[in-house]
Amino acid sequence: MSDTKTTTGGTLFTPFNMVAGLILLVGGIVTVLRFTGGLAAVTNLSDNNPWGLWIGFDLLVGVALAAGGYVTSAACYIFGLKRFHSAVRPAILTAFLGYALVVFALHYDVGRPWRLPYPFIVQPGTTSLLFEVGACVALYLTVLFIEYTPAPLEWLGFKRARNIVVKLTLVLTIFGVVLSTLHQSSLGALYVIAPSKLHPLWYSSYLPVYFFISSIIAGLSMVVFEGSLSHKNFHDKMDETHLKEADGVVLGFGKAAAWVLFGYFIIKLVGLAVDNNWHHLASGWGLWFLVEMLGFVLLPCYLYAVGSRDKNIKLIRRTSLLAVLGIVLNRFNVSMVAFNYHLPSSERYFPHWMEIAISLFIVTIGVLAFRFFVTRMPILYEHPDYKDAH
């Protein structure tokens, strides 16, 4: 049975590995079906619903939850909050994997994935929002890759290359913030062209602002949430500095998230007022909208605030999950639930199980890649050769 043992002596057949392996197996089979049988073979997409779960979850949620990279690096390097430094590398890694998987997922969703580079080399289409999203995601993925490289370079012992990349940190952070501001908002702007399809409670000419502000909430919450999972599973990989700074990161990000959530709630109210949508609140859709606003915006806002006041780390960590779910719910509402709301139920979109399988497959790849990098590279600890080098 020696072949079932890992190099560290642990068994390969843990419940986590078995579930992950099963998901990868199903995902692999569905991948073959997708690329041999086309979109119709594995999805419920139609002319009425050309964008489904792979856009709503893999792209919109993926990009929003990867916002922790620009939020954390901006806090540390632009606003000079060095006490959050230990959170930067895990956040950048999460963001890099998030964006890489967004691009990976797009290959499943677009009809002819080999044409993904066309906007850059064949038809510029510079007036298109999708061009702007595509350009920003491509550029930001590159920026995140460079921002992430000090960790593998330290791991591999390439000191000179590592020192050159570290000198670029501030420039890369500024690029990251600019590019994120552009494409996070543009993802919301994509839905501004569909006023007759999106329910008025979710439709607003302020959608780009909503998407950008909520991405900050997603980024802050994701850093706290990912940090709590890392503490549970990779505690032994964390050095003293990381452990010492961890509570400060949770408290600081919790307080910031409470503040931004409060602002987000106010601008959503302004959106209701400007479009005079109050009467829709007294409908079934209104009830669902209130669930999102009160249960997944105002409630996490209050819980974050109470957690920061009481220095209740556990409460903030639990609230981060609620806030992350709130972002998922919002993106689902905009892209699927409240989209085509006027169509009869027979024409409405519900994802095929194989679409869900591919989304799970992609999330699983992300989790496994995160585990691979964190257990090998200096992500949660400082490399001994570069202690106090920043």
Binding site: F262, A273, N276
Partner: protein, 42 residues
């Protein structure tokens, strides 16, 4: 009020009035929330 909206002017007048009220409420709520958030800070 909705029944009295006949023109774009009516619509803008009504929605702007409500928006201004929301903003006034926000201007009061923001400092109050900030105090709630920070009053136990050292």
């Amino acid at each position: 009020m909705d029944g009295n909206i006949f023109t774009l002017q009516d619509f803008m007048y009504f929605t702007k009035a409500i928006t201004y009220l929301v903003i006034v409420a926000a201007l009061i709520a923001f400092p109050a929330f900030w105090l709630f958030l920070t009053d136990r800070d050292e």
